[in-house]
Symmetry: C2
Subunit: 240 residues, 2 copies
Amino acid sequence: MSQQRTGTTDGPDFPDLPEATVARLPEYLRALHHLSEDGHDTVSSEGLAAAAGVNSAKLRKDLSHLGRTGTRGVGYDVTLLIDQIEQVLGLTHRRAVALVGVGNLGHALAGYAGFGTRGFRIAALFDADLGRVGEQINGLTVRHIDELPETVLQEQIAIAVIATPAHAAQHVADRLVAAGVTSVLNFAPCVLNVPEGVDVRKVDLAIELQILSFHEHRKSALTALPAVQKPQHNGAEVAS
Amino acid sequence: MSQQRTGTTDGPDFPDLPEATVARLPEYLRALHHLSEDGHDTVSSEGLAAAAGVNSAKLRKDLSHLGRTGTRGVGYDVTLLIDQIEQVLGLTHRRAVALVGVGNLGHALAGYAGFGTRGFRIAALFDADLGRVGEQINGLTVRHIDELPETVLQEQIAIAVIATPAHAAQHVADRLVAAGVTSVLNFAPCVLNVPEGVDVRKVDLAIELQILSFHEHRKSALTALPAVQKPQHNGAEVAS
DNA sequence: CGCGATTTGTGCACGGCTTCACAAGCGCCT
DNA sequence: AGGCGCTTGTGAAGCCGTGCACAAATCGCG
């Protein structure tokens, strides 16, 4: 069931995709699914790049890392490319995901349809609050966090989502790792300390806004300035 | 005016912070607030770097762009540094944010306390569904999206969050831009097309999981391979 | 059967980001 | 006052990512 690298067959042994490429592949995949639904069976690098919002040369270089995927003079086979990207991303089977923290955000995530349609299955919900344990959300029963080890084992869970308050996140992460989880998506606004071999990605809504705030601040300072400079993008033409 | 160090009153002169630095400043800010609550009044670059999960040299270089902030042999004044970062990020006043799309995720975002505590104020909620207009969420009334222009003007809204389904996101973005919004945080899984001068940041939950899935896939392929293993790893923190 | 139109795949150069290593500066202790 | 230890700030080197520009490859058509 795991991917073997015997290489004799058509086994795609990935030779260390650049991290930046990996981060873009899901975007290509989404764009390809969209194109496929629209009836396209081939697409040029220019077209796909536009749909994914990137430079076409970048896209070609990204895809070149997957092996020979396109046909010169024609473009890329949409279905074939979807298969290849899904294979590389390990999306050939639905991955079971655990969600810890069924509060405000956790509730929304548990009901988010995008997970189900893009390769994942929320296999279990957990919370530490006994008042929430037993609650039914989207066909799943919220379990107490003490049941984590057996559930992770039983459902073959390798990826977990933390949607708890920040003060509980590290503790939850420790228990997840102890239970065998090796990838964590953290929505709590704090830094997680995990042992080597465990991947953590963080999504912090306030940080995203603060980055936007910086650019807002900068833009409003520029409008008060004479247009001597010529930065890459400027000019909010909106009247105040 | 932007580069002068004449030291007038409160001249907000930024010397073009690197984008990577801007993306980390919010993390430093959060860590600093945490340290401040714990009673620390100074912190070393090593300590702050650990709290923010980055390299200490990187942190020092980042902070050096803000001007002289630390004291050699001592460290950084926590309160002073908080003020400086907030100034650079434009967080000296609460920024009004509009939230469009009060569905599953939008509901959670509207109730997310992290916005309020970190420099933002959700000033208005919008939805296109008449069945949702008028609903009360967290003390705010959901308005119809047609009221966008006047509300944006009235509440001085420059930043908006899109939490609609993907098929509606581009239309909403167009209307937001037309109303005067110049920064957008997009939760819809699609590429937004906006005119120059408008900033867009995207948060796609499924993409984050797919990136984790790739690393899972890679890890399981490595464990099945007894020969070579790569100790090099990025993104994981060293345990205490 | 060959030629031209088209598109991929990639060598190369450039810029930005990261990291090391160390000099410069600051406070404290004697 | 002077030295010593500690910490910041930064020069420099290296790495990664990006984008241009073009050769190689493929298809269609006359």
